[in-house]
């Protein structure tokens, strides 16, 4: 009985020791990961800062203007080209352009489709049936 208890105690001791060490090494591992991540974050932040500066440098008005003068075939905007939205002419009434065109050509009347056409226009029935 005592021996079993001893063995259990030893097993518990070893177990707890292993557990304690596992936690310890895990902690060390996590701490190292944190430090590593912090370094990475720092590096990323530095890179972001560098890229921001570079972006600002590349989009500086001086450079954009030079590039626009060189590659774009545009004129400087004149003041009379700028108008308010409400001074634009109102939307014109909806026009069915195709319908008007058809009407002008005298094709405005309902067409006589074969089959039903015979009822509307007897003249159409003169076409030979197939």
């Amino acid at each position: 009985m005592v021996r079993i208890l001893n063995i259990l105690a030893i097993a518990a001791l070893i177990g707890s020791a292993i557990y304690a060490y596992t936690i310890k090494y895990d902690t060390i591992f996590h701490a190292e990961t944190i430090v590593k991540l912090q370094h990475e974050i720092k590096r990323e932040q530095d890179t972001i800062g560098m890229l921001r500066a570079e972006w600002a440098h590349l989009t500086r008005p001086e450079r954009i203007q030079a590039l626009a003068d060189k590659f774009l075939d545009l004129q400087v905007v004149a003041l009379n080209q700028i108008v308010r939205a409400d001074s634009l002419p109102g939307k014109a009434p909806r026009v069915d352009a195709i319908g008007r065109k058809l009407e002008a050509l005298g094709l405005g009347e309902p067409t006589n489709t074969p089959g039903s056409g015979s009822i509307i226009d007897p003249a159409a029935s003169s076409t030979p049936a197939r």
């Binding site: 921001r52 500066a53 570079e54 600002a56 440098h57 500086r60 008005p61 003041l79 700028i82």
Partner: protein
């Protein structure tokens, strides 16, 4: 660990069998006392062991104190490096969040002279990799007894690799913050620049240090760009660029010595754009003592010429000495002792107040100032902030040059802008107050809203006077000297100013300093534009004239045309129907009619 070691030592001491035969009985007795295993003899042994331990611990304690007190060498290197490394500075942004100044990380090479074995060889190798380092000077620095010296700041990654490959002991790298200004010379005068060590030397950079940043660094706070709040300035990068571009073109065109331009928000006092040429690139700052590169708008003082007439007319109107229908005698030049005041556009007749303004009559302005009297004139100019130093966020400023014995003659000349030198920004502040309804708002270079600005802005003139001045400036743009800047759609008002420069104590006839002030829109002013040119030349297309209307005015017109849309001002196709309601109420209905004709004045 130590427990086990002590135990072993004790075992050893007790196990050693001692059989000594000494000559002297006392020595023998002591020794037997020490090494005897008998309990009654062990007291002396315990005491000895106690003394030995006490001594050992005493030595350890003494050594610890010694270590604590003595600064150890690696520690001091680190501290020297921390002191030497450029401190982080907050970003400076424009009003829309564009970057005007920021920090980037760069590597710098340092050396610890004490640890370098062969200094001559080190110098040779380092200068081979870093060609722009002076070999003699580097040898001198490495020969010094310092623990830490910089070899070269801010090197490229390639250079870093090369230096690393040299494998020199005592040479290392440190990451540093380097201040960069992505836009180069745009807004350089407002930003100023920071030294390699991250200390603001001028402009807003110096202002930031004054706001407590330097103290924080000094106290050893580890500040990184991430935990510093960015500074938002009042400048608009795109507008500032456009202003500088137009100014640079016109300086070339009119062969001027220098020039400056600025846009001020009259309601908030924000300086939206500022350019002074010649300027510099803050990434490679010039010698700060070189006066060529000063900010002509705030660090230099000038006789502002006829733009000052706006202030004189405002004074006469505000004090009730004249009204818009009063007539001023401009038939004869004024003689005072041996001085004569005459008009550039002489009319030789009685002029109404609006005519004095549009003809830019010196005689009329002088007479109006005399109506107010010397003391009232002085008091009014003082109230308008023209006689004391204007302080903004920029650490550099200039004291106005006020005549010591201010008599009637001074009042007369100052009325038309000669005889009192002020910083142009200061004059802008006053004209801004004339335009915005009468509040003297101190210009600022930081973003601010109108409520904040008007909170402690004193009222200096009546609203009616302000509206009269707006009417006069508008009239001047319609039919007067400011016609060139009358950009359709913006309802511009303006005033020209041409001051003869003093050369060897005399007013020169051919060297002039021209200024132009424009407000827009005149009915509800938002922005005040100032342009000034130093010694512009007459051109064939301007008929050889070098007065402000032809040069400073034309620049202002171009700037207004180009920056108006950028400033968010929509051009109005029609003129406002009732631009000056207060004047209409006072019985000047003609103010609301567009002026016509006026001929060539």
């Amino acid at each position: 660990m130590s427990d086990r070691f002590d135990a072993g030592f004790e075992d050893k001491a007790t196990d050693v069998p001692v059989r000594h035969a000494g000559s002297r009985a006392r020595v023998l007795k002591t020794l037997t006392g020490i090494f005897s295993a008998k309990p009654d003899k062990s007291a002396i042994r315990i005491r000895l062991a106690a003394w030995v331990f006490l001594a050992v611990y005493g030595i350890i304690a003494a050594k610890l104190i010694d270590f604590g007190l003595r600064p150890d060498p690696p520690q001091s290197i680190k501290r020297a490096a921390a002191d030497a490394v450029a401190a982080a500075r907050p970003d400076i942004l424009d009003r829309n969040g564009e970057i005007l100044a920021t920090d980037v990380k760069v590597m710098s090479v340092f050396a610890e002279p004490r640890r370098i074995i062969d200094k001559d060889e080190a110098v040779e190798l380092l200068t081979a990799v870093l060609p722009d380092v002076d070999a003699r000077e580097l040898r001198e620095r490495l020969g010094s007894r310092k623990g830490f010296v910089w070899v070269k700041r801010a090197i490229t990654p390639k250079q870093q690799q090369e230096v690393y490959r040299l494998g020199l002991p005592g040479v290392g790298f440190l990451a540093e913050n380097k201040r960069v200004y992505p836009n180069g010379p745009v807004a350089a005068h407002v930003l100023g620049f920071a030294s390699l060590d991250g200390i603001g030397m001028s402009g807003l950079e110096k202002y930031i240090d004054g706001q407590g940043l330097a103290e924080l660094h000094g106290a050893g706070f580890n500040l990184t760009p991430e935990n510093l709040t960015p500074i938002t300035t009042s400048l608009d990068l795109k507008v500032t660029y456009a202003v500088r571009d137009e100014l640079a073109k016109s300086i070339v065109k009119f062969k001027a010595k220098a020039g400056a331009a600025a846009i001020l928000d009259v309601n908030t006092g924000e300086v939206v754009a500022m350019a002074s040429l010649p300027d510099f690139d803050p990434n490679t700052p010039p010698d700060p003592r070189d006066l060529e590169y000063i900010n002509r708008l705030s660090v230099d003082v000038y006789e502002m010429g006829s733009t000052f007439k706006a202030i004189s007319v405002a004074m006469a109107l505000d004090l009730g000495k004249v009204n818009l229908r009063s007539r001023i005698d401009a038939r004869e030049s004024i003689r005072y002792v041996h001085f004569t005041i005459h008009d550039f556009h002489a009319t030789h007749r009685m002029l109404s107040v609006p005519e004095v303004f549009t003809y830019s009559s010196n005689i009329g302005a002088a007479r109006m100032a005399l109506m107010a009297g010397v003391e009232a004139h002085k008091a009014f100019l003082y109230k308008m902030g023209q006689l004391s130093r204007l302080r903004t966020e920029l650490p550099e400023s200039a004291e106005p040059l006020v005549p010591k014995n201010w008599g009637e003659l001074n009042t007369m000349t100052i009325a038309f802008g000669q005889g009192l030198n002020v910083a142009p920004l200061q004059a802008m502040m006053a004209v801004g107050a004339l335009a915005n309804g009468g509040f003297l708002v101190t210009p600022t270079f930081l973003k601010r809203d109108e409520e904040d600005a008007k909170k402690d802005a004193p009222r200096v003139i009546k609203p009616e006077t302000s509206e009269s001045l707006r009417y006069l400036m508008r009239l001047n743009a319609e039919i007067g000297t400011a016609k060139i800047a009358n950009i359709q759609g913006y309802f511009v008002g303006g005033k020209t100013g041409t001051a003869d420069k003093i050369i060897h104590g005399h007013y020169s006839k051919d060297k002039v300093f021209t200024t132009f002030m424009a407000i827009l829109p005149s009915d509800k002013p938002k922005y005040l534009f100032l342009t000034l040119l130093d010694e512009p030349q007459g051109l064939p297309e301007t008929g050889g004239y070098h007065t402000a209307a032809y040069n400073a005015g034309s620049v202002a017109g171009k700037i207004i045309e180009r920056t108006g849309p950028l400033l968010g001002l929509p051009p109005r196709p029609d003129l406002p129907t009732q631009p000056f309601p207060l004047l209409a109420k006072l019985g000047y209905a003609e103010a609301n009619q567009p002026a016509k004709g006026g001929g060539e004045h």
